[in-house]
């Protein structure tokens, strides 16, 4: 809208002490339009924007296409995980052996042949995408008929514990590294153990429970820990401190002289 700033010149006229008061009245008369035949040069207008200067009026229409739609045609062979249909929303629903992805895309959960169909017994209005297991099958399957399923497994004949013998052979290889005939710790441990299992990679090793039994088999006697026995604890800590001191002395024996100050700072 065009709004004449009618009062601006009036204010200006009233403020200036030089202009006589009769001039004020003239200005007001002009502004009120009583003297329309003679427009005043002091009247000013502001022009606001009536139209957006740039950009498209109703949002962008020509973004990149999202490549939606059917990725597999009816009757095409698919394997589990294949995306059959990409969509926004749920124009199609997953039927037999299909599932929704996180963006409502429909993917196969079984290998088979794609079918586009309607199933009024399930829902009167929805359209479904399914995967038929056989090429000749039609979807939907007859109501109340047993489900058609695929096993998806193969039977493998397992040899009864063939690993044990191989594992022992590997241990024998290890023994070759040592002096032949010598009783190494490895040999002693492994010979007794009954189970050798294959590890994550390639190595054969004794089971953890077996390793845990080693001390028992070697008849290692451990002193019973008595909680609250301060005398034994003090003795033990003293022995440890003494041992450490001696070890430190041995370490420092080769050096000519260490700085006394530094040693003091480091010491207990």
């Amino acid at each position: 809208m065009l709004l004449p700033r009618i009062l601006a010149p009036v204010r200006a006229a009233a403020k200036s002490p030089l202009i006589p008061s009769s001039r004020v009245l003239d200005v007001i008369r002009h502004a009120n339009g009583s003297a329309a035949h003679a427009p005043s040069p002091t009247l000013s207008f502001v022009r606001h924007a009536t139209h957006q200067a740039q950009g498209r009026a109703n949002g962008a229409k020509d973004g990149p296409g999202k490549r939606l739609g059917a990725k597999k045609a009816g009757g095409e062979y698919v394997i589990p995980g294949n995306i059959i249909f990409r969509q926004r929303g749920t124009a199609w629903f997953p039927g037999e052996n299909c599932k929704f992805g996180r963006d409502h895309c429909i993917f196969a959960t079984e290998s088979g042949y794609v079918r586009y169909y309607k199933d009024p017994s399930l829902h009167p209005k929805r359209q479904y995408i399914g995967v038929a297991l056989e090429k000749t099958d039609k979807l939907p399957y007859p109501q109340n008929a047993a489900r058609r399923r695929r096993l998806g497994f193969v039977a493998v004949q397992n040899e009864p514990q063939p690993k044990k013998i191989e594992g022992q052979a590997v241990v024998a290889d290890l023994q070759v590294g040592d002096a032949p005939g010598s009783e190494t710790s490895i040999r002693a441990t492994v010979r007794d153990s009954q189970t050798l299992t294959i590890g994550k990679g390639y190595a054969y090793r004794a089971a953890n429970w077996d390793i845990g039994r080693v001390a028992e088999r070697a008849n290692v006697q451990v002193k019973q820990f008595v909680p609250g026995d301060r005398w034994a604890a003090w003795q033990k800590s003293q022995a440890r401190k003494k041992r450490n001191e001696e070890a430190k002395k041995l370490r420092n024996a080769g050096k000519k002289s260490a700085k006394p100050k530094a040693r003091k700072r480091r010491g207990p």
Partner: protein, 460 residues
Amino acid sequence: MAPVKPSVRQFSSCFRCVRGDVSFNGAPRRFFSSSAAAREELQTTSSSTPPPPPPPSSTPAAPAKDAEAPKETPEYMKEWGELDPNAVELKRDERRLIRREGIQPIGSRRRRAIIARTAAAKAEQIPFEQLPYQCFQEARKVLLADREEKLKEIKTQITRIENLKAQDPVVSGGQVKKETRMRSMQNHLNELVILADINDPVVKKKFEDGEGDMNKPIYRYLADQKWRKYKRLVVEQRIEQFNLVPDLLPTFDPIADVDLAFGRKNVPIGDFVDSAVSENPPRLNVQTFERGQKLVTVVMVDADVPIPEKDSLTYRCHFIASNIPIAPDQTSVPLNLLQQQSRKTKNVEEQKVALSWSAPWAHKGAPYHRMAIFVLEQKDAQALNISEIRKNEKRDGFILRSFVDRMKLKPIGVTLFRTKWDESMEGVMKRNGLKDEVNVEFKRKKIEPLPYKRRTERMR
């Protein structure tokens, strides 16, 4: 004499939330703590022939005295002292009572607490009908009047039915119309019989205490309602979730409650059962809510037998027993005893087990097997020919639908458990002549990628 517990203990837990003993999916096992039935059940587990239910025994030595039940009460159980089903009020004592004596405590814990306290105070026990509350007595009067009215209606309905029976079909508009009318009148009569008793507080009390008689329509009705409120919903859900309905039967509307137990262990529907446990046949408890005796056939089917050569699955029958009588007050179907009995008798007519129990088994690595046990009602309570079933039915590739159709059976109840490879499976398979199957392991099949995704030498 049981020691008197401090009275504060009774209010430490919410009485309204108390359920007798929770065993099946949170639902109480008994419909109305039928102590007689519970005792009977105990008997059938310990002895082969079910003797008549003995009088309630409250002393721990009583089961030991029973000549047919050689089971001795262990020493630690004797230390529990005397447990009175009318007065136990601690959860622990209730548990012990059920465990040692096989008796359900009566009614609610609140009631038992009151009974115990009045007994301790040596106060006089007032009969339920004579409780001195004015409002209670006034309400009873109204209910009694209503009952009188219903009884009168029943009388008239009976005479009406008699008249209709005597009427010539031509007068009543044809035979078919007469029969339809007769049926609807009979239905109305049944309704009236239930309505006459449904508001009776004594009936309600007896139902809660488990003293109700399942031969009476009102208690059957109440038990049915209770079953439908929770347990049947669970059964329905399992039927749907485990796809029993499209896989084994086209449609199924369970009308009988079936409980499954291996030895002393109750198995909720759909649970995994250890293969060593399921090596021996289980014990079923089939509660029907319809009048009269029925002859039923019990069939167990494995719905997930793999055929790796054809990459598909098939069915296998593990057990068929026919001509088993059940009634609302005759619920126990001990399959293990039936099997023993059939082995002992030479006469085929008396045998009930057509296909003996074969232990459920599964390959290592294979998906779980659904073992569904169906209770099928025989048409018009007619006995089936066992030797014929034995001749015609094969275990592998057994199709339950066609069996039901051929024998004119009607499925009334189902229960389910699952089996998969476990530690004891190897032993079970060896004992049941499946030694070569022990080393077979199932592994997932590799799926060939689509041709254009296949990696070729050139791509590497």
